[in-house]
């Protein structure tokens, strides 16, 4: 089975972490003995205070960093057994959004979005069409030729989301996507992520914003000092829409 193709076996989670630890200092783990699954189509919050390990966890899921111990499985494949090229291919099925946007300030909006499409090896005409489509989805239809660095924070985050959505990924990873935005822009971004989730993509959002999680309830995974300290039960339908959260229960 190609590593980027969804498994036909619905029992296989999209992402599985088994007893994963990551150390930047021997005495202070960034993550310690973390295990959980992310089902297909799920909307998941990863929460915790600053330094709890949220970003490290996202990097492990995105395969940007390897675990020091334990295993990460994507589509049932142990990523430790994959070659570097295969890891790159796997990343193409993931869209990433960061608090600080990670846009190239001196490139146009279109060129920034095009980056995630170029690596797929698709034609320039397809890229141009898809950029227009995705810009319409994020409400920036007329901004294709604007220089990304000249946009407001909210607009830049929309461009970042557009870049993440452009290749139609199976999984969206968002690290504090609303952290530097005003309430209106934050709402817009969350609406977008929920819409994408409603269309079948799995969405993982790292956030410390309790109000956000309360306003848009989904499954929550809580970290503290690198340890998994709580996990709310998975909702019935993993489409992510609307079910009130059953509350976070302690684990471990």
């Amino acid at each position: 089975m190609p590593i980027t193709k969804p498994s036909t076996n619905s029992d296989i989670p999209l992402i599985r972490l088994e007893r994963v630890s990551r150390f930047f200092r021997p005495d202070k783990p960034a993550l310690f003995d973390v295990s959980f699954d992310i089902a297909r189509g799920e909307f998941l919050y990863i929460t915790g205070a600053s330094g709890a390990g949220k970003s490290t966890l996202l990097k492990l899921i995105h395969l940007s960093e390897p675990p020091d111990t334990g295993a990460v499985f994507v589509n049932g494949h142990d990523v430790a057994t994959l070659r570097a090229g295969a890891v790159s291919v796997l990343r193409r099925s993931m869209g990433v959004v960061f608090q600080d946007f990670h846009l190239i300030g001196d490139l146009t909006v279109g060129a920034n979005i095009g980056l995630s499409l170029e690596v797929l090896g698709v034609s320039p005409s397809f890229i141009a069409r898809r950029i227009r489509e995705v810009l319409a989805e994020v409400g920036l239809e007329d901004m294709e030729d604007e220089i990304a660095g000249s946009l407001s924070g909210g607009e830049q985050q929309r461009v970042a989301v557009a870049r993440a959505l452009a290749p139609r990924p199976q999984l969206i990873l968002a690290d504090e996507p609303t952290g530097s935005l005003d309430a209106y822009s934050a709402d817009f971004i969350l609406d977008l992520l929920e819409t994408v989730n409603g269309n079948g993509a799995t969405v993982v959002v790292a956030t410390h914003d309790r109000m956000l999680m309360a306003a848009r309830p989904h499954r929550i995974l809580a970290l503290d000092a690198g340890r998994l300290v709580g996990m709310s039960p998975r909702q019935k339908a993993a489409s992510g829409h609307g079910q009130p959260d059953a509350g976070v229960k302690e684990v471990g």
Binding site: S64, S88, V89, V96, H102, I104, L115, G121, V122, P167
Partner: protein, 305 residues
């Protein structure tokens, strides 16, 4: 969403090429400066190579004319023929050519090039008959045997003088060796300069595009996809620099030809030689490779990024 494998390869190659040329377009002055620096280094190498080639050619012409010339006193045709036959029969003599006074005068006028008319005004009597002796390589390279033959011929009563060209050979050989060494030295220096300049330029590009590289990796670009544009950038820059250097060299050679081309025959060198097309191709490819090596070196830092 990905295209078919063949299409993917073509489109990725096109995107990589666009990324490489885009890198040059985004920092035109930096690339122009480094290209001109490279062109200057390549030009000094190519010019020295051209000088060395012409020196070699000069030596070949001298050596190719004859390894020994026997100048004769006033001699009858019959004696001249006998002496010619006798020399031709000597072991190690490959060919013998009799130069009569009229032919000697013509050769002199030809060798004067633009001043040929001057030679034509001199009387034939000013040009003694001579015999050019072409030796086998074994004998030509053996100083002792060559001088022994010269001494033997000097004792013949009709021989005025035997010229073995030792001084000329030694001087020209020394100059040729110097020219060859200088061209090799400058070639190596030019390659080092190319590698360092391209490495510095590409390193600047990598630093300026660090964020772009990070984003490319985030969206699933392979290391090959990330690095290849920088390699192409370095290769293109060095190849263009070599092209500029060779164009300048051609212009310089045109100028040199116009100024000293007429008196070159005086030096026995005939026309001024230029680098052959195979050499030009070799140098452009060499420049390209030096650029690739320079870019590759600068990309080592990407591994740490």
């Amino acid at each position: 969403m990905e295209a078919k494998p063949t299409g993917q390869f073509i489109y990725r190659a096109a995107h990589i090429l666009l990324r490489a040329t885009g890198g040059i377009r985004r920092r035109p002055w930096l690339h122009l400066l480094s290209t001109l620096t490279l062109a200057a280094a390549f030009l000094s190498f190519a010019a020295t190579l051209t000088v060395a080639r012409n020196l070699n050619h000069l030596i070949d012409r001298w050596v190719g004319n004859s390894e020994m010339t026997v100048y004769l006193k006033d001699t009858s045709t019959a004696d001249l023929e006998r002496l010619r036959n006798a020399i031709a029969a000597i072991d190690g003599v490959e060919r013998v050519e009799v130069i009569r006074p009229s032919a000697a005068r013509q050769n002199f006028a030809r060798d004067l090039g633009a001043f040929g008319d001057l030679g034509a005004t001199l009387p034939e009597a000013a040009f003694p008959a001579s015999i050019d002796i072409h030796l086998s390589r074994r004998l030509a390279d053996n100083d002792r045997e060559r001088h022994a033959l010269s001494a033997r011929l000097s004792k013949v009563h009709m021989v005025e003088e035997v010229e073995v060209y030792d001084d000329w050979f030694k001087r020209l050989s020394a100059m040729s060796t110097m020219g060859r060494t200088a061209s090799w030295g400058l070639g190596i220096l030019a390659a080092i300069v190319a590698i360092l300049v391209v490495a510095a330029t590409v390193r600047t590009g990598v630093a300026a595009r660090r964020k772009e590289i990070a984003v490319l990796r985030l969206v699933g670009a392979t290391e090959t996809y990330v690095r290849t544009p920088f390699l192409i950038e370095g290769g293109i820059e060095a190849a263009i620099a070599m092209g500029i250097a060779l164009f300048c060299l051609q212009q310089m050679m045109n100028h040199v030809d116009a100024v000293v081309g007429g008196i070159m025959p005086l030096l026995g060198g005939g026309r001024i030689l230029r680098l052959e097309s195979t050499w030009l191709l070799f140098m452009v490819v060499g420049g390209l490779l030096a650029g690739l090596v320079g870019a590759r070196l600068s990309l080592r830092r990407l591994e740490e990024a």
